[in-house]
Every structure is written in C-alpha cells, then in structure tokens.
C-alpha cells in the first residue's frame, strides 16, 4: 500500500513537472512569437533568428520533462 502510494505521488510529481513547465513555456513563447512575426513582416530575413528566439523558452518544458523522466525511471 505504501509503495503504491509512493508510486502515485511520483507520477503526480512527474505530471506537475511537465504540465507547469509547459504552461511556462507557452506564456514565454506567446510574446516572443508575436514580436518575431512582427519583425518578420518588416524583414523576411528575420525568419531564422525569429524562429530561434521563439523556441528558446521551450527548453523550460524539456527540463520539466527531464525531471519527470528522472522521477519515473531513476527513483
């Protein structure tokens, strides 16, 4: 019973780690994305840099995922 509860909490923790970081990445990306599109409208050459800037906050959710994977598979 105790083991089952612990497994449940680990799964919950993993879910929270991915879910919250996903929200964070989304909030970060929305304003960068809008600004990047604006810059691209002025100068299409900005596409590469714009894409790069836009996906930078995505690392946050990857960190969340790493935490989740470590929780699920290492502990």
């Amino acid at each position: 019973m105790v083991a089952a509860e612990a497994a449940g909490f680990i799964a919950l923790g993993a879910g929270i780690a991915v879910g919250l970081t996903g929200l964070g990445a989304g909030i970060g990306e929305q304003s960068i994305g809008a600004a990047a599109i604006g810059a691209m409208a002025e100068d299409p050459k900005f596409f590469g840099k714009g894409l790069l800037m836009t996906v930078i906050p995505e690392s946050i959710v990857i960190f969340g995922l790493v935490v989740a994977l470590i929780l699920l598979f290492v502990f």
């Binding site: 790069l52 990857i62 960190f63 995922l65 994977l69 598979f73 290492v74």
Partner: protein, 649 residues
Amino acid sequence: MLKPEKMTRVVVVGTSDALDQTIENLHKLNLLHIIDYDEEEAGFKIGKPGSMAPKFSEHLVTLRSIENQLGSREEAGFDKKISAKELPSQIESTLSELEEEVLKQHNLMRSIETELKQNQDIEDTIKPLASLPLSLEDYTGYQSINVFVGFIDSNIEDEIKAETSQYELYTGEIEGKKIIAVAVAKEKEDEINKILQNDSTYVEIRPPELTGNPQAVLEEMAAAKAELTEKLANAESELVRLKQEYAEFMLASEEYLTIETQKSEAPLRFATSDHAFVVDGWVPLDKYDDFEKTIEGGAGNVYASKLEDEEVKDVPIALDNPKAVKPFELLVDTFATPKYKEIDPSLILFITFPLFYGIMLGDIGYGVLLGILSWVIMSKVKSGGLHELAIILSYSALSTIFFGIIFGEVFGFPLFNITHHEIVEGGILGIAGPNIWILQLPIHRFAEVKPLLVMTFVIGILHITLGLILGIRNVAVERGFKHAVTEKMCWLMILFGGIMAIVTAMPAILWGSVLNTQDPIFVSGIVLGIIGIILLVKGEGAIAIMEIPTLLSNIFSYARILAIGLSSAGIALAVNTICRDVLFSQGGVFIVVGILVLILGHTINLLLGIIGPGLHSLRLQYVEFFTKFYEGGGTKYDPFGFIRKYTEE
C-alpha cells in the same frame, strides 16, 4: 565543402564603344557579381542607361499588370522555348492589343457587377410589397396624400382611427412578417408618422419610383438578372481563354523584357568617363580564366584583371557543396548566409539533421510514408525551396526507416517479439529481434528510457563539442588564436571539466553515497573547469559567469530527441490499443469505426511527425549548435545574368 567558394576581385576596363558588347558578354557569362559604383572617385560618373531602357520597363509594367488582371501565372505545359529574336516585334504588336482586350473585358465585368448589385437592391425592396394589393405607382406621386409602408407586428389601426377617419389601410404578410401600407391625408402626416415611429416593431420601407404590378416587376428583374449573370460568365470565360492563349507569350516576353531591362540598366552600376568605363566585381576564382578570355576576346578594347591583394571584405558568398549536400544550404541560408572566412555548416547538417530526425520519429511505417510523400513532392515540384525541402525530407525518411528497424516499430506496432516485465508481446514478424554486434534488437523505447536519455546527453555533448571546435577555428582565423582560447576554448574546458566532476559526483548526489573528493577524475575536472572560468572571465568579463548554466541547459535540451520520439510512439501505441483492444474485440460495426480511428489517428500522428521532429531537429542545430560557432552576415553571390527558362537566343 565546409568553406564558401573562393572568389577573386575583378576589374573590367574598356572604351565606350565596346560597352554594349561587353554588357552582352557579361550577361551571357552570368559570372560577375557587380559592386555598384557610388561616384566616389573624381572623373568617373555613374553610367547612363541604354536608350531602350524606358521602353522596356514600360512594356514590363504593362505586361505585369495584365498578368495581375488575368490571375496567377501557370507554368505547366510549356516546354518549347521561344526565340528571343522574334519576340520584340511580337511584343510591339501583341502587347497593346492584349492590354486593350483584357481591360475591355474587365470593365465589362465591373459594369455588369454594378448593375447586378443595383438590381438586387431594388428586388430586396419590392419583394415585401408584392404581398400588398397595390401597384408600384400607387405609393408615390400624390399631392394631398402620403403613403407609409413598413413591417409592423402590432395592430395600430385603432390608434390611427383615433387620429383621423380619412385613411386607407392595407395589410399583407411575407415570410411570417406583417406588412402594412397606410394612406393618409397630408395634413395628418406628422401625427401618423409619430404613431408609427413610436411603435418599436415598425421598420419603414421606401418604395422605389417604379410602375406596375410588383410581382410582374420582380419577374422582369429575375429575367434581367439571368441575362446579366450569363454575360458575366461569358466575360469571365473570355478572360480565361485569353490567359490560356497568351500564357506562353506572357511568360516568354516577361523573361525577355526582364533580361533586356537588366542589360540596358547595367551602366547605372558602372563607373564611366567620357570615353571609357570600369566595372568592379567578384568572380569565382576557378572560373576566372574563362571569364577573362570571353570578355577580352569578345569586343574591341576591353581588359579584365584580377586584384590579388584586395583586402577580403564584403566578398559575395557562393556556397560550394556536393550535389547531395546542396539542399541543406537552404537551412543554412534561412539562418544566415555565412561570412567568407567562416565554416559553411551545410555538410554537418547533412549528417546531423536526418540523424536527429530519424531518432525522433524512428518508425518503419512512417518512414516509408514520408519517403513516398517526399518522392511525390520531388516529382511534382521540380525546383525551388519546396523541392529542396523534399530532398531533405527523403534523407530524413531513410534515417527514420533505419531507426525504425533498430527500435522495431511499424506504425507503433512491434516488429519483433518484445519481452516487457516478463510478458512476451508478439511482433509482426513473430520472431525475436536479431543480435547485431553488441546490440540486441529491438531497443524498445518505452522500456529503455534511462539508457536512451543518457544517449541523448552524449549526443548533445558531442554536438556541442563539435560546435565549440568549429568556433575555435572560426575565431582563430578571424581574430587570432589568443581570442579563440578566451572565447571558445574556455567553454570547452568548462564543459569537459563539468562533465568529469558531475559524472563522478552523480552517485553521491542521487543516492547519498560518500563522495570521494580524492578521485583524480573529480579533482582534475574541477581544476579544468576553474581554469576555463578564469580564461572566460579574462576574455569576456565577470558577467559571462552568468552564462555558464546555459551550457547545462543546452545539453539537457537534447533530451527532446528522446521526448519527441516517445510522444510520437506513444500516440501510435494509444491509437493501436484503442483499435485492437477496445473496438476490434467487439466486432460488427465497431470494426469499421476501428479502421477509421486507425487511419485518422495515424494520419494526425504522421503530420505531427513531420512538423515536430523537423522543427526540433532544426532548433537543435540553430540554437544549440550554431550559437557555438556561427555568426553569418555574408552577402549572397548574385551574378549579373539570367538563367533563361522560356526563351532562347
């Protein structure tokens, strides 16, 4: 490969009488990247455009406006080249005729459309009146009577009666709404109007000044409308006919006029004096001999010469890669064109992009579908960015199939038998995976998360190390080795020092075992890292310490290689489980539903599978890899000339 094509600075000098022939030769060669002259030197002025230039551009503007009016250009079904010698006379005679015809049809269409709109307006107002027992001329044109018409819900006859006895009221109904017409004497007009306006359901109608029975008028209108619509369709089909008939002519003459405009405006980029001209530019080094021979042999007093010691600044960049690697130049150019002395990373992308893509998607079924998709795009679109993307996709498809075999996945179903928690799940082939070298196939992604996660970190470390090594090379070439050490080498030292320290300390961090601080690997790692940090602070200031954690985040970022793969394999597995265990087992109509779910689920997953791995593989290149060495900012090599598609000389 790895470096842009070598260029040489060239100056072409000649006497004015040879100008036209030289422009002709330069254009045909399509080699010289001209540097526009900006009137810096005394005695030389910017040249004057050829006498035909205004006429060519005028024709070009006319032609493009015609093309706009006729809609998008279609390039299919055109393989016979038109001779450029016959075109000028054809353009003179045909262009204005075509313009007139297109304009005529366009104006006709516009006037028909206006008329249709007016008809529609009148029709809308007459329609309600048809339900009243009055002719259209009964509503207007009285001296002592006024007629109010409108929709109304409530009964207001009593109110009117209270105001005056001299009135006539007609009612009708159309589409469930009540409509009334009230005729009253002029002197009571204001009072009645007030009663009507005070009623909230009243909507006034203004009858048009027409005569006759409304029903008959409506029928007339409908007939006129049909006639106008037919005329409109005729004009439209006439435009389509013109477009088809003159498609070849328009494509060929646009090309011809573009070329002639380029040629006749070329002197605007040259330096000229009263009797001579000078053209400055860049030519690929290995093509210079041909260039010199053609230019000097072609026309009178013209000489070309190399400027050997010219400082290497603003050299136009022509990327130089084998045919297989060419498509990846698109990805490099999208980020930025490299500088002349920088490494051109196309070749590295050629290897790593499909590799990452394959590990992420890793499914034989999806790989085959992607391969077919890329083949279809390649055969439909013969050139341009989409064609190159399709080639990149086809490499990625091969890599996806390869890793699909390693992971043993076909549309999320196992290819080989897999044993998970001591339960054997039968695969499609019904055999256990083969043992190749030290690798026991298949590597089941859900069962082997931990080793695969470590593998992604190793890939990340290798990729970033490669980036930093290229960075050392780029900085060393541009600013000297000392800068390379304090800007890039220090990062390499911090990276490896950090890895050595963290790997030895890992057991202590995770499971609380005792950390052996005497471990030589741990100690040398710490020392290496500290030396790296000192060099970094020396090179970029103390603020750069803030950036050290990004190294860690960069490496963690490669976890997405596993993450994207798990999510796509997870979706495939979910779809299969729903179909096989939930729907198919119930039989009957559920089998049909199951097949639909199967097709829909895998289509969505495949679409996600194209976008997700593509973008994330690219992001790893752009954000994690390129930032270590790549600056970009070069000018693209754009030679003076034109590749003829529709005309020939």
